[in-house]
Subunit: 171 residues, 4 copies
């Protein structure tokens, strides 16, 4: 049924930042599972934490102090298995594409070590003063590239198709 | 920038159900625009209203009384222009595909008559008793087909590529 | 159990503005009833609609254009009976107290004509430029007083304890 | 302005459980501060964590497995100072009153060590099978009393008005 082949948590390279949180009552719907829009809210929070913890660029400074908008041009999510109250999710963030003014991230949620939800977020950087698109700030671009470098296989590795490079991880 | 070519509200056939609501304060984020995950929440409410108003099948009876789960296997949304507090959105629902146990809907939000957000929801019908996939109930399938028939061009029309049939509307 | 004596919808004076909405799936929790914090979100939306519809002062103009903050110094809610998906709520807003820079409102939700939730919101007007408290703008004060006058008993009425005046409605 | 005298974090006894979290973008409104209803959502999550971490009774087991409803008969919150994106809140839970089928908790949020929000939640235990009120389960009552005992002053202490007993902490 799922539109993606589930990864396992153990096959993620160490350099990929991850976080962990329990599924709480308030995130669940009358079917007893996470309410679909709430996944995107939870993942938005994960991305925010990732900016500060993995990139060293606190989200509130980018958005609040520097007035750099990190809004989305596209979001999507595919669901393999539902999550219930009390489940604990591990969630990892992978950088897929860095454009002139956009960044494509995938967010992977794992339950008991197997991927249960995969989401894609395409951010477009804007000025929050006039809401016009702006180029990705240099320090953000550098931090994104450094993050990627931390989990991609080294250039000199034997493999010509690096398993976790942007072009090899499942789209 | 947008991944879709915006429709205009006036070109939607009359048979397509639509609703209208204002963008409220509580739906907006510190950037002053609708918080992305909240769009999915708002659209989920639109789909719920559509089940009752357009299909004649109140959502709470399907999910509550009949214990038929209408959870999502996939959601996605593309954003052409942001919406601010006080904007009024017209939102329309189109049935794209009816499978054995799945339904693909697109939700189109219009601001000042021009499409600003387009979302896709793929529902999978499940039993809420054992959370297993079940075939789309007959009355739901019939209602979906009747709804589609209400805005598709009649079979005898001259055109061989009906503009608003499931295969011709923008994917 | 309830901390208030439930009103009935029919005993509300005509001058009191009211709105109506269904309880949707996304507002409910795994217990199948409205998630408590969501009531406050729904009521915040009701108050926002009331500013525009009953007072003639669109909320987004006050908060957005005029940068007048309408934040809360206090909120509370008491719950007599739970509301389920598919229930339809009538909700009314009453002005209780108008201070120099604060307004006290009560929000009353009715299910099948009987009050099921009563909430109190104390708004403090602030400048959103420097987040300092400011006096209630004159037009807001006037609109609030006019709204009150619309449902309070006329001054010449026999009763010395008007049933729907600020001091006589249930606290 | 505030309706309570702010505590400081350092004066809380050690036995009082506390947690800490950052204020995220998605919790904030167009005024740039935490959206009021979201405080109650955040605090509901805090209470849920507290059930598992401080009482040893995972919330999802009580509500999910045992079908014991922990819904609210009353909630209220008073706000002394607003919280912005990037602020870090320390939040503590105190048990105020244990009734036959109800529990009164206060939740205290601190910013930079000073209390900025105080909320009260009155839970009524119900059966989620028939939604009728039930007595507080024995293990829940015991865990609540043990929690209280962990921060109240010993009976033999000199003071006759224990500072952190249920009757002495600020109401």
């Amino acid at each position: 049924m799922a539109r993606f082949e589930s990864l396992t948590l153990s096959e993620l390279p160490n350099g990929i930042w991850r976080t962990r949180f329990p599924v709480r009552f308030g995130s669940c719907d009358p079917a007893g599972i996470v309410y679909t829009p709430e996944y995107l809210n939870l993942f938005n929070g994960v991305i925010e934490d990732w900016y500060g913890d993995a990139l060293g660029l606190p989200y509130h400074e980018l958005v609040g102090t520097r007035r750099t908008g990190l809004g989305y041009a596209h979001v999507s999510a595919d669901f393999a298995t539902p999550s219930r109250m009390g489940d604990v999710l591990d969630v990892a963030v992978i950088v897929r594409d860095i454009g002139r003014s956009s960044v494509k991230l995938t967010v992977h949620a794992f339950k008991d070590g197997t991927e249960c939800v995969r989401a894609t977020f395409v951010t477009v950087t804007t000025s929050l003063v006039d809401h016009k698109s702006i180029a990705l700030p240099d320090d953000v671009r550098l931090a994104l590239k450094n993050y990627q470098a931390g989990y991609e296989e080294p250039a000199g590795a034997a493999s010509t198709s690096p398993r976790y490079g942007p072009s090899s991880l499942p789209a």
